[in-house]
Amino acid sequence: MFDFLEGYDVLGAFWMTVKLTVFSAVGSLIWGTLLAAMRVSPVPLMRGFGTAYVNIVRNIPLTVIIVFSSLGLADIFGVTLGAKDDFDVLGFRLAVLSLVAYTAAFVCESIRSGINTVPLGQAEAARAIGLNFSQTLRLIVLPQAFRSVIGPLANVLIALTKNTTVAAAIGVAEAATLMKDMIENEAQTLAIGAVFALGFVILTLPTGLILGWLAKRLAVKR
């Protein structure tokens, strides 16, 4: 019944999807947190940059960003990201870079809404014992903000997992690329679609469940 899967490395393709997701998730969490810090910082220039970045990047389709990173960054400006002749590696790195740049805008906004849930008194108390801006943010505000936005961040992570399929546009050998190949070569289109849909659900469902459980466990009691 599943003989149409023979000769195709479905697991390998999904492994690539997982790698894209994990690297992009870590990167966008870091960059998104920095952006959120900029957006609440007392320095107008940083606030301006953060606001402009988020509003520009989240309004550009991911496909445009990924295709531009390949055709623009790599082909025209010659950016190689340390992968000179290996186009598989270069494609992967460009895809991660684009996914980080794009997803970070959403991470930033989630975290910023989390910062808004932390009562002002927390930051005032932190400043009153002599903590500076960055300590107040790192030690008091962000830890509480993160705990209140684990749910929304789970949404972002699930969207990111599915967004990795856009990397197919620049030929990264992840799940959607393989699906396209298989649909071209095999007759069982519906079955192929079902297999890949199921694959993504298997990846994302636990993410949502585990993070939902974490969100409850780590909630800050007031």
Partner: protein, 258 residues
């Protein structure tokens, strides 16, 4: 504090610890502080009272620059309040603050709340910080709650932890911004007792409060504010038995007779 600096302060700074000179502040159109002149001596306990909206909380918050001022000067121990930045953070460490709503760090245990400033601001090593924190928690009577989170404590206990957190920095002056206003009546006394003990130990304190009993028993001086001005200041006995201004008489008649 070293002996040298004590000797120097005795001579040079006389005994003025906090000095506000013609301080003005607006919230939009509201002139919330109008030409405030106030001097607080070392070891003095000053209680600020007055009707709601008279600017007493704002006054308290300007002293560690949680509120900025529009004009005038504030000096602490002879040094003017610095602008935002490292200098200001250092100064704030020397000025303890206790809030109406406690503001304990909700994601940290009671012990961590009291240790944090020592470790991150004073750069005390962990063991020493913990020792001091436990001693302070014992002193305010919540030593057994050290490993709990703030939300697991009663309001009175939380406020006493907040006092310990401020004391852990070894402040020169303590500011209390309506420390008992958010408490259930039966918890007010446990906090006031801690504050009274502090006053007896010679801590310089500025206390914004509605607790007239505390003002009577612990204050060296009562400052009465109304409509953004200091209307009257006097020793507590004199103020409560024989207020000079009509505004103070009116205020006292409303709160003392029932």
């Amino acid at each position: 504090m070293t002996n040298v600096s004590v000797a120097k302060e005795d001579v040079a700074a006389t005994d003025e610890l906090v000095v506000l000179k013609s301080v003005n502040k607006h919230f939009g159109a509201l002139h919330v502080l109008q030409d405030i002149d106030l001097t607080i001596g070392r070891g003095e306990v000053v209680v600020v009272i007055g009707p709601s909206g008279s600017g007493k909380s704002t006054l308290c918050r300007t002293i560690n620059r949680l509120e900025t001022i529009d004009s005038g000067t504030i000096t602490i121990d002879g040094k003017p309040l610095p602008q935002e930045g490292k200098e200001l953070a250092r100064l704030r460490a020397d000025v303890g603050m206790v809030f109406q709503s406690f503001n304990l760090f909700a994601h940290k245990t009671v012990l961590e709340n009291v240790m944090l400033g020592q470790i991150k601001v004073r750069r005390t090593d962990k063991k020493q910080a913990e020792e001091k924190a436990r001693a302070l928690l014992d002193r305010v009577g919540v030593g057994t709650q050290a490993d709990k989170y703030p939300a697991q404590l009663s309001g009175g206990q939380q406020q006493r932890v907040a006092i310990a957190r401020a004391l852990a920095m070894g402040p020169k002056v303590m500011l209390f911004d309506e420390p008992t206003s958010a408490l259930d009546p039966e918890m007010i006394n446990e906090v006031l007792e801690v504050m009274q003990q502090l006053a007896r130990d010679g801590m310089t304190m500025v206390v914004v409060t509605h607790e007239m009993g505390f003002a009577r028993s612990a204050a060296n001086r009562v400052v009465f504010m109304a409509d953004g001005r200091i209307v009257e200041q006097a020793a507590p006995d004199q103020f409560f038995s024989n207020p000079r201004s009509d505004r103070a008489k009116d205020f006292l008649s409303k709160i003392l007779h029932h």
